[in-house]
């Protein structure tokens, strides 16, 4: 039914935009910092001055900055304007969305740590190999533009950063971001519900191949990709498919591909894309066997990739279901979209009323005429401010981990509320609402693990096992609700009860 397809695509579009909004805003702010504080020369220096260090430096900076594959687009544009070479730009484009302090912590507690470390170094290998080959094939790919005049110190400099952010939000970056989001929407419109449930099984030799072509148009935040990685290892899905999901699903989207094509041309972009897919698939198949977990029972299906498929089935009450799902989008996501929307609107207004950049000219006027400084009026050079701002951003994201992964007491309180709702709907055999609350409950158990690890420096195998067993019991109950089997539901509720109690005992203070 066409309305089901349209509704599914629209829902995934809005969900992806909600998840991406914060990191898009971060990307826009970083662009402003690069342009108005660091300046072209220092931006070039940060990315290795187009020397041998450019690729690993781009990778390292990308790993630290909390941006996604959509939020990285305005930064790529600024890197290009600053004269950074094509190899380093493409390396940053791929590496920046893969990891950040939040997702790295999440991953270290989900899967075996050596897997996450291996994946991180595989990503370094990929960006280095591809970037080096690409630079060799297409040298002198830098294309610097004339830098803007420096803005006057003080408030005007801060305003100049804001203007860059706002104009960039309503500029070409907006178009690329919309293309990226449309990839997710089209994917969801075309993939029927449950289409990927069995595609990534560990014994399926086509799993890495399938995931490669699903992941390219899909949009996944670093956190989503990491949580799916964990689910894949929990169900003994294909490690090669997990690697392809992380590298391509989180690392890129159609928008970033469109930007590359617009700036480097069809031929160069096709070469880069071909190299990327070849290397990713090669590595995916190379690790598929050795990393396949042997200590877990393989599941014959998983719901981890339902998020890329259409959530609506033709037989459902579409209007009611759509309303429920739109209402289920978290409030914080709506806030993020509202803020981003405001910034975009401001940018569009600015384009209309001041397309010639008169405001920027006013901010830049008399920038070099030095007022007589007083003893207390210290001039901080813009690059220093820029570096401090970038370090501050990274530090903020690390500190943000403590807010995102709360203490165990806070998590127990949250779980109490979720537990009541989840079990109520499970006993009502309401499969749709059960899925929603169980996903939240599952997420809280993972936040519990990370929160404890953050604050104590360790997570025992016992605690990890209890959390894992709890999530399996939750999944059994979820399947029982899907089957609408009263006896099975009753039994599984009991299983969840005991597993939840044991989880709380394991994580409580001794």
């Amino acid at each position: 039914m066409p309305e089901t397809i349209i509704a599914g695509g629209l829902l995934r579009f809005v969900q992806a935009l909600g998840q991406a909004a914060p990191t898009i805003l971060v990307g826009l702010i970083v662009t402003g910092i690069f342009r108005r504080l660091l300046g072209q020369q220092n931006t070039l220096r940060v990315f290795g001055n187009n020397g041998w260090r450019s690729l690993p430096q781009a990778w390292a900076l990308g790993m630290l900055l909390p941006v996604c594959s959509l939020g990285v687009i305005p930064i790529l544009r600024e890197m290009r304007r600053s004269g950074v070479g094509g190899g380093a730009i493409l390396a940053f484009a791929l590496a920046a969305p893969l990891f950040n302090p939040l997702s790295l912590l999440y991953g270290l507690t989900l899967s075996k740590p050596y897997v996450i470390v291996a994946f991180a170094f595989c990503s370094l290998a990929i960006v280095t190999i591809i970037g080096s080959l690409w630079d060799r094939l297409f040298p002198n790919s830098a294309a610097a533009e004339a830098p803007p005049r420096p803005a006057r110190q003080g408030l005007k400099r801060m305003l100049a950063i804001l203007l860059v952010t706002v104009r960039e939000a309503a500029g070409p970056s907006l178009g690329y971001i919309l293309i990226g989001l449309s990839g997710t929407a089209v994917l969801a419109a075309l993939l029927s519900p449950g289409a990927l449930e069995r595609s990534m099984n560990g014994d399926n030799p086509w799993a890495p191949w399938t995931m490669t072509w699903v992941a390219i148009p899909a949009y996944a935040t670093p956190m989503l990709a990491m949580s799916q990685l964990g689910a894949m290892f929990q169900h003994a899905n294909s490690p090669g498919a997990a690697f392809a999901l992380l590298t391509l699903g989180a690392g890129m989207n159609l928008g970033s591909l469109a930007w590359m094509t617009a700036h480097f041309g069809w031929k160069r972009s096709a070469v880069w894309f071909g190299l990327l897919v070849t290397v990713v698939l090669g590595l995916a198949y190379a690790i598929n066997g050795p990393l396949l977990p042997t200590e877990v029972d393989p599941a014959d299906h998983t719901h981890a990739f339902d998020v890329y498929c259409n959530p609506f089935r033709p037989s459902q009450n579409l209007a009611a279901d759509a309303e429920f799902r739109f209402r289920s989008i978290p409030l914080l996501d709506w806030c993020g979209m509202a803020i981003l929307g405001t910034v975009v609107l401001a940018g569009l207004i600015l384009r209309k009323v001041d397309s010639a950049g008169r405001i920027e000219s006013w901010l830049e006027s008399d920038a070099e005429s030095a007022a007589v400084p007083s003893r207390w009026d210290v001039t901080v050079p813009a690059p220093v401010l820029g570096v401090v701002a970038l370090i501050g951003l990274v530090a903020f994201s690390i500190v943000g981990c403590f807010a995102y992964y709360p203490s165990r007491q806070e998590v127990f309180e949250e779980m109490k509320a979720v537990r009541a709702e989840a079990l109520y709907f499970a006993k009502q055999k309401d499969s749709k609402r059960t899925d929603h609350w169980f996903a939240l409950w599952d997420d809280w158990t993972r936040k519990l693990e990370v929160g404890v690890y953050l604050r104590t420096g360790r997570l025992s195998e016992y605690q990890h096992m209890k959390a894992r067993i709890f999530r399996e019991k939750l999944e059994q109950l979820r399947h029982a609700v899907e089957d609408q089997d009263d006896e099975e539901i009753k039994e599984c509720v009991s299983g969840v009860y005991h597993a939840d109690r044991r989880l709380q005992v394991a994580f409580s203070d001794p």
Binding site: A195, W206, P217, W266, D500
Partner: protein
């Protein structure tokens, strides 16, 4: 570049997106096939449910083997039974016993998970976890067969540790089950 970028970008971007959609559609044929197979599978699964109704955890057939022990005591009993059988078989056969060992390895591997699905305290669970690792190493060792003295010593000492674990009675359900 700036004034041309927007329309050029849209043109190229949309064309690129369209080009990528082609292999995606081809891929979807396989996924749709899998989805149709899934629907067939669901009908088969319902059929299987009716036949296996006497089995307590039918739905966990999705994830667990039918020979997985229900609790720690059962797992320990099964472990001892299978090991004794393998000892008898190993003494009469010169070759390896891959099939028999496979099930034994599975049960050893499941031990920490089965023990974790109980009220066993952390200290005892750590014993089970360590014993499981040592037993796996002993059983999987290619240089020593199941009947070799080293393996037997490893087995006896770990089984003794496991037998000594006292499993507390499961707490009754509280109001949670009635929520």
């Amino acid at each position: 570049m700036k004034t041309l970028e927007m329309p050029l970008m849209i043109d190229r971007g949309l064309m690129l997106a369209a080009v990528l959609i082609v292999p995606l559609v081809m891929l979807l044929c396989g996924c749709q096939g899998a989805a149709e197979t899934k629907h067939e599978h669901e009908h088969e699964h319902e059929h299987e449910h009716k036949h296996e109704h006497e089995h307590e955890h039918e739905h966990s057939e999705h994830h667990t083997s039918h020979h997985k022990p229900q609790d720690f005591r059962q797992a320990l009993a099964e472990l001892e039974r299978q090991y004794a059988e393998i000892q008898v078989l190993a003494s009469s056969r010169a070759a390896e016993l891959p099939q028999e060992l496979e099930e034994l390895v599975e049960i050893i591997r499941w031990l920490p998970e089965i023990a974790g699905d109980s009220d066993m305290p952390e200290a005892d669970w750590n014993v089970v976890n360590a014993a499981s690792r040592e037993l796996l190493t002993a059983v999987k060792s290619r240089d020593r067969g199941p009947a070799s003295p080293d393996v037997q010593v490893a087995w006896e000492s770990n089984l003794r540790r496991l037998r000594e674990i006292h499993l507390p009675a499961e707490s009754p359900e509280g109001g949670l089950a009635d929520q």
